[in-house]
Symmetry: D2
Subunit: 330 residues, 4 copies
């Protein structure tokens, strides 16, 4: 039984709390949050203690921590937790600064304590089926990857200003998905980004619509499309063309009902947003973490993976500004 | 908080235990089973007591019981539980004997204690969306209902012999779905049933493939197709033609991935069987029961509904034998 | 080059004219119609002669006739044409009277002249793919066939009165499809038919909504659903459950476009009616006839097939009236 | 009745011949080809004369010519035909040289004779439905366009060498589609192109896999993906994200049949290649040309459109070589 402390009792912390508590091999023992009421309420629902993050890190009976606090605290908490010998599952991104994330990786590497980054989409049953099919060679050699990733609505401009920008905040998931599915890092990044959804986002120095092209050393290409607004719901699709076929993962719909009338045939929309769409992915992610720690298996998404995705986000941010391609060292 | 005793710790009892324990307004306090080890193991996982069904019914602190025991005990347990003042959620069917089920209904009616029958499919998000659309008049007046309901593989012949036959054991779900969606009982039942899947099922006096046609007083028609074997998985679909359109609820697939190769385009199969397909339905069913009891709302699936479905099963069994239609009193 | 006379220049005659004229191995040489203007106009468009049906049958240079006149003339024209040695492709049904159709079959059999009946749906690329898959054993042994066949709108009541009724006029296509796909005739027919779409159809002695169940000697079952009104278009689908899988042929849609908005995802309707849906089938039917005649191949849909479908229509008509099953001699 | 001369009796010429001959308002009167046998054979099938292109251009009774010869002859023939007063429908591309195409446009403009370029995909019922929906504002303001366009198999390397390269030969269709759907020309072009399908294509100086990103003055973005090899068939899809929804045009499948077995659910592949997929588009294109000429309507795809697409192909070719974006004058 893995005894777990949860740092952060916000929206995503609550999702993790349910998965920790309902897993047969883990137990939620403590919750902390800067908002003490939130910590108390969440802890109470699962028979856990509300306490401080320092107290959690100092508690020798706690085996692992799940970091679901604000991004600016991630690197510090990862370093403190690993220094205290706690296994870590930390929400993405590692940091908004590539330099800081790299320093965190260097510090953690010395401890040998396992750290997993919460790129939940790798655990989505659809995308993991794509990965399994690629690995099994079912469509031959991958040649052209396409990722479509649209949010249902743009976040508040106030959030945009502190988010690190679309490439670090939103597309970082897709950079990780590209790294996951292509099994390599690209050598060239080109980004086109504009603010056509909301001019206020442009005034805040960010983009809301973007297309990024990645070129790999062996000639493979990946293209990622992001938009902050798809009014019909969360659009999350992947297509991979290989030498012997095409793999496609479609959206998860709210239901399977269709209605045919004089006006046409209407079916359900995609699940609204990430909490609905990726509910199964979060549970599978937690299961993978528990198995890795308790059974000594390899960590499926490493801190190094987190840094690699951030490096692509940094390059894309630079390319979108200059309009030119950025070459990456391998 | 609804305090709940669970009678029956088998496969379906375990599904209910998870839903009872994880619901914010219910608590699993006791579990009984003829297999005491099964009861102990399940109770232990959720901090409940393993005990006898008599002890559960005698425990004044318990508000409600969920009956997930073998079918032949349902009527007795419903009567005992309601006599003890416990609200009841009982798995389908009420009984294999229409006469016994009717007697149970008569007995329970006098107590005024709420009893709900576990026709879980009414709570499937797809079928409940169909019902909501019908009620909203989105396809006009219903005219022709089609239900496709195929199991992935036939049960052992030993089970078939004690099951009451396909119409009482399997199609009873579809009879309830017809009653649910058409909002009325038919006046005529015709059944065609054969044992083409497995001749042993025929030798045991049952059928494994059946088509039932229901005719309603106002001219509407429903048709139900059952097969004990669909090797590609659990096939659960509904179509309703109305004066202004067609509603269709399709299967829930294992994932959304498709693979296009020289051989064609391959996509995922339907979820394998009822535990996978109706997982969400069982949770929604439990939520509906808790809300009905705690908030005093109407019971969404009544004991009367259970008896009505059984009456259709009885008529279909008779029609399949005689080859002729059976007329029902309204 | 097959020289062809076309008897009947109405809606369906015009479709056949295009196929005859554009086929590399056939030539339209003469057209007749009770409406002489219609014959002249159609003949003119393809460089053919407008003349009388008697003249066509008497013209030794004509190899074959296509009979697209009103149903009540079919049997007579088939007999006259075969007596004159012309190969015949005749629109369905052979006759409204089973007795008359049987007499026609007897008369024609003695001549040895080839006669094909225009059950166009056998040549639909979707349904013929189902047949090919069944024959190839791709889903094992067929067990349960379902045919859905809805028209977009009911015909005028005046037409209904002379149509022979839904079973002879509309479901006859589906009876032939069942015979085609099951490769055998059923031993029992049960029909449920009501007039819920339009009470005037009921007053005219016909039904507009019907479900027919066919039982075969070896335990297989087929079910056919008909409605005279599906406001979303012509609904033409087939499903065949076999011991090793399910084959489904869906509707042909007007286009492949979908539109996702806040209101849901909308896609195109099925092709509106038979001229749109079965355009490719009519061309393939004509090609099959030409090949059969010129290359001496077997006639793919015989006059015997036409009589067999009519026998099922007769039995269904009787069953819908009596409410009881009709047993058929094999 | 439009009297038409066909220049070129190759594969695509034969498709046009059928459409010209079967159209109610056009007549095929003459055919020319460098291969005189091909011209004779095709002319004979439709009662036309086989002759030379010079004779066709000199024949005062001919109203229009369809140019389906090799690309290097297009500009010359367009100039000669318009000088002779013949309306022209010319296959794409106008020329491999942007300079030559521009000169042709200048020459033709002075004559006032109508010239249409055969971008057949604009007439595909799926893509034209997308256009109609955009124009009707059904998804609000367009923001992000995606075009997927994969051929089933790469052409011979010998063809590649004279083709002008993937951007001029293959993606030119997609550049025109972008211009058609976005209703404007982009201001920036970035191309990533590699030869991962076949290294011989790379040695010949061309690419076989490419992603092009177009940025428009108002912030809209379009992305085009091309591959010379999709083993499952011709993959031709368009998606357009707008401020109020998403429009998607999917592939046209060979049939609507699906087969569900233990191995999964298999459905048909996309139509194999352009002759199958765009058969309806070619007929609609010809109908649009006939209507424009006979009814004096506007030419739906102008020579200017042909030059505009070529300008994008030129820019993309340059960008793929340099790895950097190319800025276009508006």
């Amino acid at each position: 039984m893995l005894k777990v402390g949860l740092l952060g009792a916000g929206r995503i912390g609550r999702v993790h709390a349910i998965n920790i508590a309902s897993h047969a091999r883990s137990q939620l023992v403590a919750v902390s949050d800067v908002n003490e009421d939130a910590a108390r309420s969440l802890a109470g629902a699962y028979g856990a203690q509300a306490t401080s993050s320092d107290a959690i890190l100092a508690d020798a009976s706690i085996d692992a921590v799940l970091i679901a606090t604000s991004t600016d605290t991630h690197s510090d908490l990862i370093e403190k937790a690993t220094a205290a010998g706690k296994a870590v599952l930390c929400e993405k991104p590692v940091d908004l600064s590539l330099e800081r994330a790299q320093a965190c990786l260097d510090a953690v590497s010395k401890t040998g304590v396992p750290v997993m980054i919460g790129f939940n989409r790798r655990f989505d049953p659809n995308f993991s089926a794509i990965k399994a099919s690629v690995v099994a060679g079912e469509v031959g050699k991958p040649e052209l990857l396409s990722i479509t990733s649209f949010d249902p609505a743009p976040p508040p401009v106030a959030y945009v200003k502190v988010s690190g920008g679309l490439f670090r905040d939103m597309m970082i998931h897709d950079f990780d998905m590209a790294n996951f599915l292509m099994g390599d890092a690209p050598t060239s990044v080109h980004a086109a980004g504009t603010s056509i959804v909301d001019p206020e986002i442009g005034k805040a120095g960010d983009v809301d619509t973007a297309v990024v092209t990645l070129i790999y050393a062996d000639g493979r290409i990946a293209v990622i499309k992001n938009s902050r607004r798809a009014v019909y719901g969360y659009d999350q699709r992947v297509e991979l063309l290989g030498s012997e076929g095409l793999l496609s993962a479609g959206n998860v719909l709210e239901n399977t009902v269709s209605k045919a009338t004089k006006q046409g045939v209407t079916s359900a929309k995609p699940e609204f947003f990430f909490l609905e769409r990726y509910m199964r992915a979060y549970a599978a992610e937690w299961d993978a973490f528990v198995s890795a720690i308790l059974d000594g298996a390899a960590i499926p998404v490493t801190l190094q993976d987190g840094v690699a995705a951030l490096a692509l986000a940094e390059a894309a941010t630079q390319s979108a500004k200059s309009g030119q391609s950025v070459t990456l060292a391998r």
